[in-house]
Symmetry: C2
Subunit: 348 residues, 2 copies
């Protein structure tokens, strides 16, 4: 695989171009937005190459969801020897639309994929060659898929630093409905309910609406394209809400919902995939001035304790903050001793 | 105000004891759990004092929500000269129950309050004298409130480092329904929907279910006690969900929901209250090994740039991370120059 055509020079398409170029592949961009096409081409260096259609090895379709199927169909026609992949957030609908319109011979060259990567900055300006490093990347082979093609796409994905997960398109759509589409809708619905002064708002609310800043056009395409998988989840939530209301939020009814949430939350895999490493938490009081975090992390670096994750709690008008450090269980006592020995207020 | 009785030696009650003791007040604890009572007493030093009932200046009722009204009533009877405050998460129900059962003369001594503070560690073990520093603390005077009492409670709250917000109990209940109770229910409902392998789960989902780890017993008391304010919000969410389902998540219907969320999110006040300071964000690539954060924050400290907030993005199997620093707009260009000049990969 050496010559790549990338259709759609947005964040994902351009980042794929950067990662591919870094790995010695040559790519060219196609985008209806001339500024995006020019910027992506410039960023990639090799991005201005012109290939004969017959010599294209791979076409990456990186448009918005509603356009995917048609662009994939055109690409299968135009590039007779290329593997054509798309990177859209929904997979079943695209596969269905493509398979209805191409001969099975051509369908074997199509493969749906979905990198679980994104940034708050969209467009080619946000592109990074390491956007996929450490991310999950779903691959959804279909019955007619060519196994050698699937293997070479997996290899490409691994070369970008991502982890490939093979799954059926239906399984993919059901999982993203649960881990991405339902959370997006609930965050937006919650944020959309907000009104008034909210002087009592704290970190819980802020976390819940962080993703509510999303692009309505982009997301309407995604969610609408995955309606089959999302609707049963929404119906289930709505039913549970109605039950709570009907029971006047009786203690028993609320207790059931909260308890089910505690169990459900524990099913999310940990930071490094697979088994949750069960980090120890250490809350540390910091004052809100320059140098405090630096001093804190300098000590951690010095004593060789890796901060696996951290959270800063803050609320309106807060001058002192509480930072919670997440470290390996084995590092906790060292960290407590070293920090409290140096005058830090820790709350193990 | 010098002698305080604290009924309920949990996280909040014991923290109030610690903060009051630090300010030179004397307090004694009452708790049906002897271990909690002993620990709180021990932690506070002054906490073992025995007062004559007539000499108690303040009673703080810090039990769970369902017990509040009865304990407040008992306290008003037992301590004839004391101001009696509670610190429960719902206010209207308690005020109503108390006012139905005491003479208005005694009611004037009751004041409902609600500190917006909490920790993941509950019980007296989690108590901290600085738990309220920088937090909002709602005070809900009623028609019969004694203004001098309200002023002295405000002063006490300020002495704990908190910011007092006066509001009617109904306004309080409506606001916490929106900023705390509805988010809790949606987080729990979302977490309760989770099942399967979830290898594609990312930070969005993790943020949305962070608070789903809550105590079912504690929260069923809170939410059930505020059902009047929560039910209209739940009905509204359920109605919007049903509309989305009925319209098969049409692009227009989804776009409306997402766009309304973008607007709603912008109504949340910023970290320091009042006007959102509109921090600049700077994403920086870090590798997942000791010393990286230390080095990064050392530079920030050195150049005098205060990190107002930060977030670390992580997802399954991620080896490299992306940390987003939030700084004052005026500090952004300095930070970009200094970091990139020292070889850090920044993505402004």
């Amino acid at each position: 695989m050496r010559q790549i055509v990338i259709i759609g020079a947005g964040l994902i398409g351009t980042s794929i171009g950067l990662a591919a170029t870094k790995n010695g592949l040559t790519c060219t961009f196609v985008d209806s937005n001339p500024r995006h096409q020019a910027l992506a081409t410039q960023l990639c260096g090799s991005g201005g190459s012109v290939f004969a259609d017959e010599e294209v090895d791979l076409v990456v379709v990186a448009t918005t969801v509603p356009e995917l199927a048609n662009v994939v169909l055109d690409a299968l026609n135009q590039y007779p020897k290329a593997i054509v992949i798309d990177i859209g957030s929904v997979k079943t609908k695209v596969l269905l639309e493509v398979s209805l319109k191409v001969p099975s011979n051509d369908l074997s060259r199509y493969l749906g994929t979905h990198p679980m990567a994104g940034r708050e900055i969209t467009g080619p300006e946000g592109a990074r060659s390491d956007l996929f490093a450490g991310r999950a990347w779903a691959i959804c082979p279909h019955e007619g898929s060519n196994q050698a093609d699937v293997a070479s796409i997996e290899e490409l994905i691994r070369s970008f630093g991502a982890t490939a997960y093979q799954m059926k398109s239906e399984a993919h759509d059901e999982e993203v409905a649960l881990v991405s589409h339902l959370p997006q809708l609930l965050a937006s619905l919650l944020a959309g309910s907000l009104h008034g002064e909210l002087s009592l708002a704290g970190q819980g609310l802020r976390d819940m609406v962080r993703i509510a800043d999303s692009d309505p056009l982009l997301w309407s395409g995604i969610l609408s394209g995955n309606q089959q998988a999302i609707k049963p989840l929404l119906r289930q939530i709505s039913k549970q809400i109605d039950q709570l209301v009907d029971l006047n939020l009786s203690r028993e009814s609320v207790e059931r919902v909260i308890a089910a949430g505690v169990v459900g939350k524990s099913t999310i895999p940990g930071k490094h995939g697979g088994v949750d490493r069960d980090y120890a938490k250490l809350p540390v009081v910091i004052s809100d001035k320059p140098g405090q975090l630096a001093a804190l992390f300098a000590i951690c670096g010095e004593i060789g304790v890796n901060i696996e994750d951290l959270s800063i709690e803050h609320s309106p008008a807060q001058a002192t903050g509480l930072i919670t450090l997440f470290v390996a269980q084995g590092d906790l006592s060292t960290l407590i001793n070293e920090l409290s020995g140096r005058g830090w207020e820790v709350h193990p």
